[in-house]
């Protein structure tokens, strides 16, 4: 039996809206799970049912060996972390961090020990006697984080905790969350719509859409082997490139024929003839500058310099294709370039159902 187990969990609201349509999740002790999806996909409702802030209308939830489906939040031993909220201005940093411990009746000596421990992990030890207003914005956020994660309940449940932070601060906070979780080994379920955050943090990413789980796998598996078109598009920055067409067999060779273009592309082993959507990630589209031979040619409409890489947005006879380019190369905007798709990294999907074919 898993440490945290959801079986066919459903949530139907009185007005008939089915927010969660039967979710199965098995989470081992100490795992970090990220529920990822666009707004309205059911990820937050799922988290709130684990917390007991909403009650499931079907299925069961077990946590730490106990059935908790209809238990009160206070009976579940979970820590719920919302967006990091403001600190108490009249309390020093130590008292701010220790507040949740005091509220749950932890004794003074134990409290001081736990506060020292988390402060050390987040590099806050030298600030414990200060007031919040004496801290920089970044330090204040680390204090808020320390306060949120000072307790070690059976599970941490986090609902977009980094939601309002600037992009540059988010990365730093991601690392704090992950490092603290790795040390404390508290089972964690974290909700976000940001795929990059999900990839960075998770042991397993659970991609949700329309109240259902589309895929539940380690980050790189979701990235490399997306179970559907939706996952392939949602995960990755940029999302996968897609080309509509048909897999054909002729003289014993199976090839992909894009719609409306006079060319053929190699396909993965096991591809069966029929309509298909071909997908390939930007880093597996090679860019050939100059007049070199290439499968596909097109004009670079936008060349996004991103510091450690570039994204070349190329208009081709097959539509827009994004390729990941070398950051050190000069801008290719306006240029005609050749593109090569790496066969090993091409994926095929059923255009009707969106499901993975090969």
């Amino acid at each position: 039996m898993s440490f945290l187990a959801l079986e066919r969990v459903e949530k139907t609201y009185p007005n008939g809206t089915r927010a969660v349509k039967g979710v199965d999740l098995a989470i081992e002790e100490g795992e970090f799970i990220v529920l990822l999806g666009p707004s309205g996909c059911g990820k937050t409702t799922t988290l709130r049912m684990i917390a007991g802030l909403e009650l499931a209308t079907g299925g069961s939830i077990r946590l730490a060996g106990r059935e908790v489906t209809l238990a009160k939040p206070s009976e579940r031993d979970v820590g719920f972390v919302f967006q990091f909220y403001a600190l108490y201005p009249h309390l020093d940093v130590a008292a701010n961090i220790g507040f949740p411990l005091e509220a749950t009746g932890v004794g003074r000596a134990e409290r001081e020990k736990l506060v020292r421990e988390v402060a050390e992990e987040l590099d806050l030890s030298h600030l414990l006697a200060r007031r919040p207003r004496e801290l920089s914005g970044g330090d204040q956020q680390r204090v808020a984080l320390a306060r949120a994660m000072v307790r070690k309940p059976a599970a941490w449940l986090m609902d977009e905790p980094l939601g309002t932070l600037d992009a540059d601060r988010r990365l730093e906070m991601c690392e704090f969350v992950r490092a603290r979780q790795l040390r404390a080994r508290v089972t964690t379920v974290y909700v976000t719509h940001d795929q990059e955050e999900a990839m960075r943090l998770a042991d397993r990413v659970v991609v949700m859409s329309d109240g259902l789980i589309l895929q539940d796998a380690p980050p790189l598996d979701v990235y490399d082997e997306p179970a559907s078109l939706f996952v392939a598009r949602f995960v990755g920055s940029p999302g996968m490139n897609f080309v509509e067409g048909e897999v054909r067999e002729r003289d014993g060779t199976v090839r992909f024929r894009p719609r409306g273009a006079e060319l053929e592309l190699a396909v993965p082993r096991g591809a069966k003839p029929g309509p298909a959507t071909l997908g390939v990630r930007a880093e597996f589209v090679g860019v050939v500058r100059g007049d070199g031979r290439a499968t596909l040619r097109g004009r670079v409409k936008v060349d996004e310099y991103l510091g450690s890489s570039r994204s070349l947005h190329v208009d081709t006879p097959l539509g827009r294709v994004v390729a990941r380019g070398d950051a050190d190369a000069p801008s290719a905007v306006g240029e005609e370039v050749g593109l090569e798709l790496a066969l090993d990294h091409v994926r095929l999907f059923d255009p009707a159902s969106g499901r993975r074919l090969a």
């Binding site: 990755g236 450690s308 994204s311």
Partner: protein, 346 residues
């Protein structure tokens, strides 16, 4: 050729606070300039001053060769798009788009208005939404309409104040590209303000880094990224952030404060310096000092490592094929050709 816009020594104070502290900037005829800075840097005040919503306390603004320091906002012919798309919720998309065209002194005949609305809707791929009430739109659709309302006017200059900030990560990424294509196709200049380093690097012809009301550096993204003028500028760009070291030179090496050798160098004039090294310029092997991996994060094509080396923590950006587990030891090597050195001031 005259610039679309020129700011000369612009100062703006609010009481005791100096929001803009002597800003000089020029904007080319069809240039996209991205202004990057953290909250409170003065970005919004800068845009409001250009738009004429704030009057500068000192300095001047020149539009296409003509002084406009004291010109009324309407005379400047500028379109401003905000972070919070301010549409009229009960109006249709068509009515929202047509609104700026009915402004006094701008009255166009109804067929001209409809033609412009149609053209803007087509450009932004929202013709199917024209009869929908704004309150029924998604966030991305609303922001498209807000941008559409800026382009129907055919202004001389676009000013955008973090227009993508409130959107989902996925949508932001897509709209960032669309917006650049749109503005390029209109051949109009734009000042685009953001705190998002990816937008700053990717969207503009040049990026200006603003901090505490001052422009710290202006240049094309690559030069600002690779040769930042100061550690403060360096930290604003790049994800993961640049590694910074307080270093001293001895025996042919820059060394961290704990003695860990960082990069070989000829004897410099100043023996103390701040060193900056981008995470992609730290190789995971080939160095001498041992480092312990504390965090491994995958982003898809690359992985980010956080390692403890001596008394400091370093970020490495390595190819995803690189095998790394938390707790493993490696010996990172800094590419000496890529180190940025800021000599300590005497």
């Amino acid at each position: 050729m005259s610039h679309a816009l020129e700011l000369r020594g612009v100062v703006k104070r609010f009481g005791a606070t100096t929001a803009l502290d002597g800003v000089d900037l020029v904007l080319g005829a069809d240039e996209i300039l991205v202004v990057l800075g953290p909250t409170g840097a003065g970005k919004t005040t800068l845009l409001r001053t250009i738009a004429g919503l704030e009057a500068p306390d000192e300095g001047s603004l020149v539009f296409a060769g003509r002084d406009a320091t004291h010109a009324a906002p309407a005379e400047r012919d500028i379109a401003l798009v905000f972070q919070n798309f301010s549409l009229y919720p009960s109006w249709t998309v068509r009515e929202n788009l047509a609104f700026p065209l009915g402004a006094p002194g701008r009255a166009l005949n109804p067929s001209e208005i409809e033609a412009r609305v149609q053209a803007a809707a087509a450009t932004l791929r929202i013709p199917h939404l024209l009869d929908r009430a704004a309150r029924h739109l998604s966030g991305g659709e609303m922001q498209r309409v807000a941008i559409g309302r800026a382009i129907v006017r055919r202004p001389k200059l676009f000013l955008m104040d973090e227009p993508l900030t409130n959107l989902d990560a996925k949508l932001r990424e897509a709209l960032r590209v669309e917006l650049v294509e749109l503005v390029r196709s209109l051949r109009l200049p734009m000042v685009y303000v953001t705190h998002d380093q990816a937008e700053a690097l990717s969207m503009g012809d040049r990026v200006a880094v603003l901090s505490a009301g001052r422009v710290l550096q202006v240049g094309d993204a690559k030069s600002v990224y690779l040769a930042p003028a100061s550690p403060l500028v360096a930290r604003q760009l790049g994800s993961p952030p640049i590694n910074l070291f307080e270093a001293r030179w001895s025996d042919g090496w820059w060394r961290a404060s704990d003695g860990v050798p960082l990069a070989p160098a000829e004897r410099p004039n100043a023996l103390a310096a701040t060193l900056g090294v981008r995470p992609e310029h730290v190789l995971p092997t080939g160095g001498s000092a041992p480092a312990r991996i504390e965090v491994v994060e995958d982003t898809g094509p690359t992985r980010v490592l956080l390692v403890a080396c001596g008394a400091s923590r370093w970020h490495l950006l390595v190819p995803r094929r690189f095998e790394a587990r938390v707790g493993d030891e490696l010996r990172p090597r800094i590419d000496p050709a890529r180190v940025v050195v800021w000599p300590a001031s005497a």
